[in-house]
Every structure is written in C-alpha cells, then in structure tokens.
C-alpha cells in the first residue's frame, strides 16, 4: 500500500510539475526578484503599484502606441490595459505565449481588475506558455467563485443558445452591439442558458474580429443550438466573458 501511495504521489508530483512548465521547460510560476506572485498581486489594493511576470494569452488590440493584453501564469490571470507599446513591438516581440514583465498600477473599472499605466518588457530567455481553459460551467451564476477566475481562459460546456431581441423586436440568435444597434464588425452579443439560467456572452470585436472563426461561428448560431464555448473571464458589472471559441456540443 505504501509503495502504491508513494508511486501515486510521485506521479502526482510529476503531473503537477509537468502542468507548471512552459514550452521552454521552465517553471511558469517562476518570478524574477521583486516580482509579485499571483497571490501577492491579488492581495494588493487598488491604486497600489504592482509588478508581475506572466505569459501573453491573447492580445485585445493596439492603438496609438498602447496595447491591451490578457496574461496568465500557472496560478491566475491578469488584464493589462493600454500598456505603452510600439506597433512593431506589439507585432514582433509581444506575441502570444511570450513571457513579459509589467510594472504598473492595479486598477478597477466596472468590476474588472486590471493593470494600468504599465511598462511592459519581454522576459529574455523565457519559454512560451498558453494556459488551457478551465471548465467553469458548474459554477456559472456563482459570482463569488467565478470572480476568482477573472481574466482566465475558461470553458462553458453544453450551453443552449437563447433568443435575443433585435432592433426590430424580433428573436435573434445574436446581436451586433448589446441592443442590436450595430452592424457586422461590431461586438457580438448572444444569450446562452444552462439549468434554467440565462447569461449574456460577448465576442469582443477587437479581440476576435469579423474574420475570425469564432465571429463567424456566432453569426451562424441558431436559437436552440447546443454549444461549448471558451473565452476570457472579463468582468463588466458582473461576468461578461469575451468568447474566443464556439463549437457544437459533443
């Protein structure tokens, strides 16, 4: 029995270690001196200076030398808003998976916790890391639990597409803008339900524009479709996930 336990523990350790390494083989939770752990970052107060190191998970956009980026390490996720960055660096250096260091200020905007006024630099010699989506279907509706997943890549399984009312009051599977006032290229809003509760999800057009698979997949949705989704757990007066993937439920 002891041998089995020892083997199981060793396997678990290996698994845990494997789960915490980047493509380059290093520990994805490893921080340089003076850099906060995710727990320290979470504990920091709003308006406090923060220093983090994490891997770029997705880039929401670049405009006027500022980038808005989703990041993660092995323990949690971050959202860096309007971080100064040249277009060249945005395209060539700060690519998805790259480990970066951001020194900035912790802020809150409509419930979303973010880093603002940051300075971003790439961590030289680091490997690449993209987190796998965490299934949060079971905690949908439980904001106390969901808020702990803020900005992480999360998954929702077996959701049903519900009707939204378009600009003319007709049922629609999705809307351009939250009330149907937009047109192709704008954010997509659609409703999905699970166990009798309905939620509003968004395809953020800066993150996933009209030429992306997810944008087209949502445009093709029909009321009643059963779907699985992945997206970043963005917060706007409550959970407002920015969906990056939609597939038919298996």
């Amino acid at each position: 029995m002891k041998k089995i336990m020892a083997l199981a523990l060793a396997a678990l350790m290996l698994f845990a270690m494997f789960g915490c390494v980047s493509k380059g083989g290093e520990d994805i939770n490893k921080k340089s001196e003076g850099v906060m752990t995710y727990a320290q970052y979470t504990a920091a107060a709003i308006d406090e200076k923060v220093v983090i190191e994490a891997y770029i998970q997705a880039k929401q956009g670049w405009w006027e030398n500022k980038a808005t980026i989703y990041l993660a390490d092995g323990d949690g996720a971050y959202f860096s808003y309007d971080t100064p960055c040249s277009e060249e660096d945005y395209n060539n250096i700060f690519t998805t998976g790259t480990k970066v260091r951001i020194e900035g200020t912790k802020a809150e905007w409509s419930g979303e916790i973010e880093i603002v006024d940051g300075v971003m630099t790439a961590v030289e010699g680091a490997g690449k890391y993209i987190a796998k989506a965490t299934d949060v279907t079971a905690i949908l509706g439980n904001n106390d639990e969901l808020i702990k997943k803020m900005n992480q890549l999360v998954a929702f399984k077996g959701m049903t597409v519900e009707a939204s009312k378009d600009a003319d009051g007709n049922d629609a599977a999705f809307l351009y803008k939250d009330n149907g006032s937009g047109s192709e290229g704008d954010d997509l809003y659609f409703k999905v339900s699970k166990d009798g509760n309905t939620y509003t999800f968004t395809v953020e057009s800066y993150l996933c524009g009209k030429d992306t698979d997810v944008y087209k997949a949502v445009q093709a949705l029909k009321i009643g479709d059963k779907i699985d989704l992945e997206g970043f757990a963005y917060w706007y007066n409550g959970l407002n996930p920015h969906i990056t993937s939609v597939t038919a439920s298996k």
Binding site: S110, N179, S181, S183, N237, G238
Partner: protein, 556 residues
Amino acid sequence: MRGAKGTAFVNALAVLLTAVMLAAVFSACHGKRANGEFRVPGHTYGDGGTVSIDPDYELDGEYEITFWAKNDTNVAQTKIYKNAIADFEKLYPNIKVNLKLYTDYGMIYRDVITNIPTGTTPDLCISYPDHIATYLTGRNVVAPLDELFTDPYYGLGGSKLKFDAPSFDELVPQFISECKVNGRYYALPFMRSTEALYVNKTFVEKLGYTLPETVTWDFVWEVSEKAMEKDAEGNFAVSGKRVMIPFIYKSTDNMMIQMLRQLNAGYSDDNGGIFLFNDTTRKLLLDIVPHAKTKSFSTFKISSYPGNYFNAGECIFAIDSTAGATWIGSHSPLKEISDDRLVEFETVVLPVPQFDTGAPRMISQGPSMCIFNKNDPERVLATWLFAQFLLTDNVQIAYSGTEGYVPVTLKAQNTERYKTYLSRAGEDNAEFYHVKIDAAKLLLANQQNTFVTPVFNGSASLRNAAGQLIEEVVKSVNRSETVDNAYIDALYPRIISLYRLDQIENTDPAETGAGGKLPGESVALIAVLCVLWAGLGFYKIRETVLERKKRKREGA
C-alpha cells in the same frame, strides 16, 4: 566627343531623376493619386474668380456613396439612418447610399485617417470639427462646401432639390458657424448637444440642501463632501450603500475646457496657439485634489460610466452629454445595470456647474457631417444632396428625439411637431422620457450660452491633454502621491510631450498653401532632389571647365 557624351548623359540622368523624384514626391502625398481641387459640377470658372452656373445642368448619372455614421448604441438612431436612406433613395434612385455604423467618434476618426493615404475614405462621415481639421492637412481630402451652400439649384434649399431642405438662413447660426475652418465651411452640423448635470434631487434634499436652478462648482463640491458621511455600519448615510462616488464627470476634457471658459482663462486660439498650461489651470487642478482625496470625485476613465453609478444610487451628480440622457435616471429606457441595482429617486437636469451663475457658459458639441472629395465631382454632389437630406425636418426631429439632442435647423425647431414633442415631457418613459426632453430643453434655452473651442490641426490632441491633466491629478491622488505645485510643474511638460503639443503648427492655408503643409516625406524627398540637382549642376560646371581647359591646352 567625351564631353558631348557626358553632357547628354547628364541631361538624360537629370530628366530621369526629376521624373523619379517627382513621382516619389507625389506618391508620398499619400500613396494614391491625390484628388484635384473640388469644383462644383455645373459651375464654370472664369478669370478673376468668376463663376457661371449652368441652369441646365442635371445630376443624372448613377452613383454609389458610403456614409459612416455614428449612433449612441441606440437602436432608434440606427433605424432613423436606415429610414432616411430608404426615403432618399426613393427620391433619387440613381444614388445608392451604403451605411456603416459606428458607436464611437474616435473609431470613425481612426478609420478615416487610415483610409486617407489609400484614397478610400467614405463619401460622408459623422465627425467632430477637431477631427475634420486633421483631415484637412491632406491636400483636397475634404470638399469645401461654400459654393455648394450657395448653388441656386442644388445648394441649400435649391430649386432642383426633390425635398424640402433648409436654406442657409434656416440653420441655427451658432451651429453652422462652428463648421468653419480657416475661413471656409468644411462641415455641416447634424445634431447638437451640450453637457448636462444630472442630479439625484432626492439625495441632495436628504442631505439638507435645496437645488438652485443653476449650481456653482462650490455647491457641487460641498454636497459631494457631505455625501461621504457614513453611518454606524460603515455604509454611506445618504444611500445606505457601500459604494458612493458623489460626483463623476464623464468627459474631463470638457470639464477643464468649460471651467477655463467660465473664468475667461486661456486655452487656445484659431492659429493653433496653446494657452492651456497656465496658472488658472494649475489652480483648478489643485482645487480638485481635496475632493479626489476624499474620493468624492472621480471620472469615467477611472471609475466607469457615471450613469451606472447614478442609476444605482451610488452617485449624486453625474455630468454627461445631453446625448446620453436616455441612459440616466431610475426609469431610463436604456440602462446597463441590472434592475435589482436600480434605486428610486427624482432626477433633474441642470446646466453644468458654473463659476458665475449669472453668465452661464457651456460647451456646444454633437455630430457634424464631413464630405470627402473624390475624383468624380458629381459623386461629391450626390453626397452633398444626401447630406442635405439629413437636414430635413423629418430626419432632424426624429433623430433629435432619440436623445437629448436638438435639431440644427430653425426650420425643424419651429415646427408644431417638434414643439408638441417638447411639451409632452414625462408622458411616458420612452419617446417622452422627461430626462431626455429636459436635456434638449436645457440646450434650447442656452443656445446663446454655448461655445466651441478653436479648431486646428492638433486641437483634438489639445482637447485630450486638457482632460488628461485632470485624470493624472485624480489618479495620482488615488495612488497617495503628493499633488502640489511641484507636481504640476512636472505634469505640464509631460502632458505637452505626451500629446506632442510642442509640434502643433499653424495650418492656415493662407500661410501654408491650399492643402496645408507638405508631409514630412515629401519635404525630405524635395530636399534630396535639390541636393541631386546641385550635384548635377556641379558635375555640369566641372565638365565644362575641364572641356574648356582641354580646348585651351589643345589650342595652345
């Protein structure tokens, strides 16, 4: 022989280089062939600036134009645009209008400037005058409207129009004057709004104050500080809630601009002179500090939409555009927060706070229409017709009713239909939502008290800088930094550098040529061309001297 060959070579090289360099210069002036200066179809231009207008000219070709419009995330506005297009196309089946909708002026601006180099601007777009000033730095990018205004056939209220358009005199003088840049009209007003102070009157009275008709800044600061008092449980006494930001300003650029204007302090002038960084600004910033410290004041950029806090009973004074009135109040038809967060209270709409309530000053804002020049002037004329159609009573009254906008024509403002609409405020919480109509009435009553800031290439950046000064101060206070005179001393140059305000130059065409200054690339290429010509000249002279020396020697 060698000399003759050399001369021919030099000449050929000169011609070739000239052609190449001029081509480069022109291509640097924006990638595609630049448009010619816009000439109104049917107009013949004679010597000495004389113009004869052909009374038989007809716009009868087929045209397809693109209209980039802005709505306030308001479905009703989208419908009005679509209906206007359908009605226009019925009158003019030869003109097709393609609509692209935006919900943000900044995005239209961004897309327009991206499309100027490739010659793919829309035909018509909704824009701020500040943005149009930037478009004007490209040669012949924007169509001047002066001659179109006065064309007796297709101009404002012209005889060949198939609809009842306003004449020039029927445009609100204040609003059309805002569309003049460098002495010429480059825009038409579409709608006008101002900023309003939305007040939770219930809470103000609960705090022991009586609302005057126009409030002072001191009144707002005082009530806001009072609202920060907490009860024994640590909740805000006035609301019983855990969250309270008594005063939230949506557009801090407007906040600074209006404060300065109310105090007759410097901001900018028509020639691009910048006076923002003065001692009055300094005092205003330092006056905000104590209220940022108590967290009784915040901004949209720092905290989010004032309307959301206001509707939740977590804000008492929300300053936002009158064009956002349908999002404000317990019973607002448009809202973003869930019903369980809404709080019941009375909302009143007042002018923005003033330093001198006897001489109120408030900003005039709202969408204008910009017509882009195209190689085909008839296409521009077709666009002009559609732009005029958007000034007809039906469109003006319908669109102004979607928010706290006012029509930009006296013709529409004086119709019985519009007056009846205003008189029915409060009959329901939709078409006659009282906050929306009160906001429109606020502007109608204060049209003479509105102002605009000078428009020039860079005025949009200056506007951003004005707001950023406040944002920086509030952020720094929130971060427990010391904000004092030394802080402001360091802030001014930082903001000037950030917004490149030290690089703003005069764009008056009278001084810089009709299209403004040449782009930097063109200037550089012309400089290279001059150097090459100088080199060629030197080579030619050297060859001639050598040839003469040789002949002289041979002759000797």
